[in-house]
């Protein structure tokens, strides 16, 4: 209870809250470290544009889902909490899906089933279970945004490398200068194919763990 009493005095971006926002970007990253929500990272990162839309969608769903579950946390019976969480997430994803269909229809076609699969994105379920069920709305919101942003930057990084090396473009604009093609440079078709997404993430993990040795898996 002492925590509840001290909460209102805490400023909105106190060090503790800021930590919630920044930890998932680096040493507690949902993808590189906690290994959650891999599926979509790999499937929709052929282009930077789809990665960006996906990252924004996940940030939106996750922030709101965390807030809603956190507001409901004392009324949800523990036995049926999973189905309640799934219902909340599914409703938010339906909203996102309808918005994407209305405003960016071609990207929504490219993302195909992967918008729907945000529902079963383990990061969202994982954060709801681990954080939002036991915390107040504002910290939960920050936690959701932080984790979704941590997910988003990996998504954008993978999308960046795959698009630059795979098709020589960024957001659809050519970035590899023409004279390189003239002297014999070729786009690497393998980067567009699914397996290279896995290998790119593998290399990102390698670089991150090389820099931060505490993350190394000792088992």
């Amino acid at each position: 209870m002492s925590e509840n009493n001290s909460m209102p005095k805490e400023s909105l971006l106190s060090p503790r809250n800021k930590k919630l926002l920044t930890d998932p970007l680096g040493k507690d990253n949902p993808i590189n470290v906690q290994v959650l929500g891999i599926c979509s990272v790999l499937a929709i990162t052929v282009q930077l544009r789809t990665s960006l839309v996906m990252a924004i969608s996940v940030v939106a769903v996750m922030g709101f889902a965390n807030v809603i579950i956190s507001l409901l946390r004392s009324t949800i019976p523990p036995r049926i909490r999973i189905i309640v969480q799934l219902t909340v997430i599914a409703s938010l994803v339906i909203l996102v899906d309808q918005i994407l269909k209305a405003f960016v229809y071609d990207i929504s076609r490219q993302l195909s089933v992967f918008v729907g699969l945000i529902i079963t994105n383990c990061i969202i379920m994982g954060r709801l279970e681990a954080f939002a069920l036991n915390n107040k709305p504002w910290p939960s919101f920050l936690d959701g945004i932080g984790n979704a942003a941590g997910y988003g930057w990996v998504l954008l990084a993978v999308g960046f490398f795959r698009e630059v090396f795979g098709s020589g473009t960024l957001m659809g604009y050519a970035v590899i200068p023409q004279f390189l093609y003239d002297i014999g440079y070729e786009d690497n078709g393998l980067m567009i194919l699914p397996p290279m997404a896995l290998i790119t993430v593998g290399i990102i993990i390698w670089v991150q763990r090389y820099k931060d040795r505490r993350l190394i898996d000792i088992s």
Partner: protein, 205 residues
């Protein structure tokens, strides 16, 4: 019959859930430490996919799709409930997982205790929802095609997780660079396996 076999083989090898669409990666990475547990999870996934895909097929074609309600009467022909797809599919999956769990517990307590912890996890496995969503997107003609797609995807997932688990058991004795150990090397191996599976592309039965 030939068409069914074609869908079955295609969903195992060419449209493999893991290597072509990366669905169910979370449990694939988390549970593939030993072969025994991955065999258990693999069977559970085959089981649940084999049930949920056909059920969601019926749901899609007789309740949710555009004009699907016309069997109720001509005035329902224009009703389009497809915006409810996600929430209905996930509800069916969660309910089916619960049901499968109870059935297995009743019929075969040994299988239940070996699968035990994995069964509830399957409700949030993207491969299951992905299977239903792909079924919807690809417009399978009838329920037997949906069944063969569901079972085929399950078998493909099973092969992938057992394969990676066997490799991970062996690789423990190899000298992998420290920062790459565990997660990193698993990703790269999965990528290489994916390249191998791509050689099935273009096979037509």
């Amino acid at each position: 019959m030939e068409e069914l076999l074609n869908i079955f083989v295609k969903s195992i090898f060419i449209d493999n859930m893991i290597f072509a669409y990366f669905l169910g990666m979370c449990s694939y990475l988390a549970v593939s430490r030993t072969v025994n547990t991955s065999v258990g999870l693999g069977f559970a996934v085959i089981f649940v996919l084999g049930f949920t895909v056909p059920i969601n097929f019926l749901l899609e074609n007789y309740i949710l799709g555009r004009g699907a309600l016309s069997w109720l009467g001509p005035q329902f022909a224009a009703v389009d409930l497809s915006f409810l797809t996600f929430i209905m599919f996930i509800a069916i999956i969660a309910a089916m997982v619960q049901l499968v769990e109870m059935i297995i517990e009743k019929l075969s307590p040994t299988l239940y205790s070996s699968l035990g912890i994995f069964l509830p996890l399957i409700a949030v496995n993207c491969a299951i929802l992905g299977g239903s969503l792909f079924m919807q997107e690809r417009n399978y003609a009838n329920i037997s095609e949906a069944i063969s797609f569901g079972l085929g995807s399950g078998v493909g997932w099973f092969l992938a997780i057992v394969g990676i688990a066997a490799i991970r058991e062996k690789i423990r004795y190899s000298n992998v660079p420290a920062p790459l150990r565990g997660l990193g090397i698993t990703f790269i191996i999965t990528g290489l396996m994916g390249i191998a599976f791509m050689s099935f592309m273009g096979i037509e039965l």
